[in-house]
């Protein structure tokens, strides 16, 4: 495990020129795109919701697109504030939950397993 112990310290380049990767004035999302997103996210949204969400997502995305105004071409992205790397533990068997306890919370169970709806079409 690697832990630097000190916070990364860097100097800002305040003079950098804005780089308009995203133009916040034209960021727009259509109703059809929202329907596509809902499908990707497995949300069976209603027609009424599509109308509401399309307007709201348009406003939100237009606002957050401001990040594009910051000149950051040479800046490393931060994924986690505390840079820990390669956190490992010994490969040893520890206590785990009993199957009956886990299955007791499942919406549907069959033969000591989670029962799921069909995942293949008939012809598959």
């Amino acid at each position: 495990m690697e832990f630097p112990g000190v916070w990364p310290v860097g100097r800002l380049d305040f003079q950098a020129v804005p780089d308009h990767t995203v133009d916040s004035s034209t960021a727009r999302i259509s109703r059809a795109e929202v329907a596509h997103l809902a499908r990707l996210a497995r949300l069976a949204v209603t027609e009424e919701e599509l109308d509401v969400f399309a307007g709201q997502l348009d406003v939100i995305l237009g606002s957050v697109a401001r990040v594009g105004e910051v000149a950051a071409a040479d800046i490393e992205p931060t994924t986690h504030a505390v840079p820990l790397r390669n956190v490992l533990r010994p490969d040893e068997v520890g206590p785990c939950l009993d199957r009956s306890i886990v299955l007791a919370q499942a919406p549907a169970v069959e033969d000591n397993r989670f029962r799921v709806p069909r995942i293949l079409d008939d012809e598959q």
Binding site: W7, T21, L37, V64, I75, F114
Partner: protein
């Protein structure tokens, strides 16, 4: 109201250790208080009367047997419903988990149980911790004890309201973009967001994994510090947990109570104030800065130019991570399942389940995140937001070369009316303006009550470098000592007798 519910956690623990009162009496007093006021405050989703009394009796038995008691043994606590508790329903404020009984304890749940802290029940919250008002709870809103028509902040508004309303002296919240500090501010209590990785996330239902952090609520800085020491420390079950001990926060709170900040450099952040902030909030903040100066602190100003982009970066990063984290709610292993008629496919059942189980704010954020992570948009949105996050950390680093702590208001506003902002997501998001930079940088920050505006509490935020949580507590405790010495403690109205 029983005097026992007026005491601080430290006072309660002292009285129990000295045998002046039993843990069971203390617990019963707080359960009675919940009985009296929670039908109007509605801080709790579930009160665990039997479990609480059982835990209290165990503390009393330990004391009778001469066993060592921890510094908070027998003190009641309100637990946010995003923290899993074995055998006790945990919903994260969502219909999709209604009725779910976790088969294990979160690390912090285990730690508070081991410390003899008495968990009274699970508190209300914005669904999956997404919100700043607790109005996004799938179950009911929670009411601010200072004015029942107003919000208690969020997302940890159930815990903040419970502590403010004397239903519990301690509370646990989680803070992803301000969800401990903003509710603490608007209900007039203390709330601290630890350094990211300082408190285990194992058993926290994940919203945004790179930002989520659990922390303490109390009515005093010392109480919050004592709880922080119980919660914190390395946990092998959380790979992002910092492999170090807890900073000496209780000692710092005690030192700070001496009300001497001679030689401490306090910087006001230029970007966290001015336009968009309520005048009463800014006035209380300016007064707080004068108080800090009066305690001997050197006050200066710093500029953190990228803080202006924190809101935009946050509302890309958090939704992106949530869209991934909430994929686990698929109606297969636990929670709700809708539409499983033997004919519909897995994908259809999943989509119907998530449609029925998630509220509108959760759906909005999942879709924003799905969009921001899409091929073709990733670099412009999520990738760029992560770079801005780096720049915000650098702003902090530069500021901490000049100052020991940074200060700002904890929220631009006092508590607003229930229902006022629910239809306008952006109006809700700006509640987090002051708290987001420390979330993105992973640095610690505390909110301590600093006065009233329009009769409603205002919070002072004190931010410190990573791992220096003790600095937050030291400065907050010094401020608290000075404020309480002059004005007396901020205390919410009694709420009994025509309270509703």
């Amino acid at each position: 109201m029983s005097e026992l519910t007026r005491l601080s956690a430290a006072e309660i623990a002292g009285a129990i250790a000295a045998g002046e009162v039993s843990a069971e009496e203390v617990t019963r007093a707080h359960l009675d208080r919940i009985e009296q006021v929670d039908d109007v405050v509605r801080a709790f989703l579930h009160v665990d009367t039997d479990g609480a009394l059982h835990a209290a009796r165990r503390v009393d038995a330990d004391r009778a047997a001469g066993r060592d008691l921890g510094p908070l043994a027998g003190v009641p606590l309100a637990m946010k419903d995003v923290v899993v508790t074995e055998g006790l329903q945990t919903t994260a404020g969502s219909k999709i988990l209604e009725g779910w009984i976790p088969p294990y304890d979160a690390t912090i749940t285990r730690k508070i149980k081991d410390a003899g802290i008495v968990m009274l029940g699970k508190t209300n919250m914005d669904e999956f911790a997404m919100g700043s008002s607790t109005e996004n709870s799938a179950f009911h809103p929670t009411h601010n004890p200072w004015d029942l028509g107003r919000i208690p902040g969020g997302s940890s508004g159930g815990s903040s309201a419970a502590v403010s309303a004397f239903e519990a002296p301690l509370g646990i919240g989680t803070d992803t973009g301000g969800s401990i500090r903003q509710p603490a501010a608007v209900t007039g209590i203390v709330g601290h967001k630890p350094t990211y990785g300082g408190v285990s996330r194992y058993g926290l239902i994940a919203f945004s994994s790179s930002l989520d952090q659990a922390g303490p609520f109390g009515r005093t800085v010392l109480d919050a510090a004592l709880l922080h020491e119980v919660m914190g420390g390395h946990d092998p079950c959380d790979s992002t947990s910092i492999p170090q001990g807890v900073p000496p926060v209780a000692a710092a709170a005690r030192e700070g109570a001496g009300a001497d900040l001679t030689g401490v450099r306090v910087a006001v952040v230029q970007e966290l104030g001015g336009e968009g902030y309520q005048p009463g909030v800014l006035a209380a903040f300016q007064e707080a800065v004068s108080t800090l100066r009066g305690l001997g602190a050197t006050v200066l100003e710093v500029s953190c130019p990228h803080f202006d982009y924190a809101l935009a970066a946050y509302y890309l990063i958090a939704p992106s991570e949530c869209s991934s984290n909430l994929a686990r709610f698929d109606g297969v292993r636990y929670g709700l399942r809708v539409g499983d008629d033997g004919v519909r496919s897995l994908e259809e059942v999943m989509s119907l389940t998530r449609e029925a189980g998630f509220g509108p704010e959760v759906k909005r954020r999942i879709m924003i995140g799905t969009y921001a992570l899409s091929s073709g948009y990733y670099d412009a949105y999520y990738g760029q937001a992560q770079k801005v996050r780096t720049l915000i950390s650098r702003d902090f680093a530069a500021a901490f070369e000049q100052a020991d702590v940074l200060v700002s208001p904890s929220s631009p506003f006092v508590a607003f009316g229930i229902g006022e902002r629910v239809d306008d997501p952006m109006a809700m998001y700006v509640n987090d303006l002051c708290t987001l930079p420390a979330s993105l940088a992973g640095t610690p920050a505390i909110s301590v009550p600093c006065g009233l505006s329009e009769g409603l509490p205002v919070g002072l935020q004190v931010m410190a470098p990573a791992l220096a949580d003790d600095w937050c507590y030291r400065v907050a405790a010094a401020f608290e000592a000075a404020y309480v010495g002059t004005n007396g403690p901020l205390r919410a109205p009694e709420l009994i007798g025509g309270a509703a």
